[in-house]
């Protein structure tokens, strides 16, 4: 798939999120936009998956540690063929299987529960070790937000993953510098993020999280490192490519109006 095709998929997923949250009347659109390009590369190029057999043991695994960004995960799964697109509008409704945060038993293609922040690295490490112990040659990909790296368990897992030389674990840090309550740089002393993962003995790369080519290259590089887990620190923009959402934390959790949906469609119409 070409870089342009992947970029168009990323924007298609972004618009899916806007439309889904609009129809559902609830959800977190802003946090989806900063990871759209990473999601496009992972789900539409990189990951070894079989939508007809979601629990295929040999598959790559995916952990959306920042589970509140699940509208974009659900959009990616629907467009991969795990379930019909029209199911997206049921998001967060009682009759739908699309839970407010990812549920591994209700939603085909979801590999773990997530949404309680900070847990994705530890769960991903368990998956990576479990696959390795059973001789499965695959990769476990996780996306963690920057805000959730304030949780202590992130660093417990970081220590363990380095100890176990989990070369099959590749974690993307979505560094949009926003969290529910404001700027990460104002709420904590997390930044600089990459330094900390380096100090925990991970293989660390720093990229532009909206540059498809850089995402692809970083994954290829991470795969060459077999004796360390990989952290790909992605500089991103919360709300990316949706004009009124960009770098605007009011869209952490907010429902677009009819008019705002139209603005998003207009902004993306030539990019899809």
């Amino acid at each position: 798939m070409t870089v342009e095709e992947l970029s168009r998929i990323a924007n298609r997923l972004r618009l899916d999120v806007v439309e889904t949250v609009h129809l559902a009347g609830d959800g977190h659109p802003g946090p989806c936009m900063s990871i759209a390009d990473i999601m496009a590369v992972l789900f539409f190029e990189e990951m070894k998956l079989d939508p007809a057999n979601p629990r295929w043991p040999e598959r790559d695994r995916f952990v959306l540690s920042k589970g509140h960004a699940c509208p974009i995960l659900y959009a990616a799964l629907a467009r991969k063929g795990y379930f019909p697109l029209e199911e997206l509008k049921g998001l967060r409704s009682l009759g739908s299987f699309l839970q407010g945060h990812p549920d591994m038993n209700k939603i085909p293609g979801v590999d773990t529960v997530s949404g309680s922040l900070g847990n994705g690295v530890a769960i991903g490490l368990g998956m990576a070790l479990g696959c390795r112990m059973q001789g499965i040659e695959n990769y476990v990909y996780a996306i963690v937000g920057d805000g959730e790296e304030e949780e202590g368990i992130i660093w417990e897992a970081a220590m363990a993953a380095a100890k176990f030389k989990a070369g099959n674990l590749i974690v993307f840090a979505d560094l949009n510098n926003h969290q529910s309550g404001g700027k990460v740089t104002e709420l904590s002393s997390l930044y600089p993020v990459a330094d900390k993962w380096n100090a925990f003995h991970w293989h660390v790369q720093e990229i532009d999280g909206h540059d498809i080519t850089q995402i692809q290259a970083a994954i290829a590089e991470a795969k060459k490192v077999t004796d360390k887990p990989s952290l790909i620190a992605c500089k991103t923009v919360k709300g990316k490519n949706i004009p009124y959402m960009e770098d605007n934390n009011a869209w952490h959790k907010r429902v677009p109006t009819d008019e705002e949906v139209e603005i998003a469609r207009e902004a993306l119409k030539d990019k899809i």
């Binding site: 043991p57 695994r61 549920d103 591994m104 038993n105 590999d111 773990t112 529960v113 949404g115 309680s116 847990n119 530890a122 769960i123 991903g124 490490l125 368990g126 998956m127 990576a128 070790l129 479990g130 696959c131 112990m133 059973q134 499965i136 202590g152 368990i153 417990e156 897992a157 220590m159 363990a160 100890k163 176990f164």
Partner: protein
Amino acid sequence: MALKSTREAAMLAIQELAREDEKIVIVSPDAVAAARATKFREEFPDRVIEVGIAEQDAVDLAAGLATTGMKPIVVSYAGFLTMRACEMIRTFIAYPGLNVKLIGLNGGMLGGEREGVTHQFYEDIGILRSMPGVKIITPADGQQAYFAAKAMMEQEGPCYLRLGSGREPEVFPDGTPFTFGKVREVKNYGNDVAIFASGFIMDRAIAALDELHEAGINGTLVDVSTIKPMDSEGVAAVLSRCGCAVTVEDHNIYGALGDAICEVACRLNPCRVLRVGLQDKYPRSGKAAELLDAYGLAVKDIVAAAREAMK
């Protein structure tokens, strides 16, 4: 069977099972020695995942392992496991129903005794009992722990096994059966009062029953070794015969055996039930027997509760 304690016994059983099932792994937040799993580690060095002092990581990591079909057992001190990693157990193991087993060590006042409140755990069962989908087993002695560990591994999904610290006496003769999910009558002198006991204070419950018998009160002692799912019908049958009951456990009186029996009584056989256990307070450091005596678990406390229940 010469088993020194519930920890040795349970780990022996798990080691035996691990020889037949290579998916069994132990996840340890620096608890291999405490869990008496050093022999397991010698035999299966690649099947002990030591994460260091990090209970939350251990539980989440086990959840991840289980999604791949492995059968992880997380071993740790009962309170560090169920309190420090409480949310991880609930959200990432119990909610998806993953096949992760949890072993809580040093349960109760007896388990922590001289260490003091930080290492005495009398909330673990209450915490886990409130989580849908978690089974809970509390064997009374080493031999029971051996069979309880095997029974746990036969269960699909989350299951918690509460063990002691090596101070728990052997109370049952060789060959005493262990049946998951069923209560068992230990001694039946008559139907004056029912004593439901759980875990490694069984010796005190037996002593109390015998003392009551010598005083002309003939009761029935029931071992409740599975706290969840509760054998409601088995409990109700005893309540129906006796008409009053005492519960005995090394746990706070809220949340565990006492509450579970009261719930059955309310629902199926209303009658008086008095709860012997830690009376909703924090104890202090002390030698095991003295501590239990000082904080509501003396034989005389059980006897007094039985007499009161019969009024």
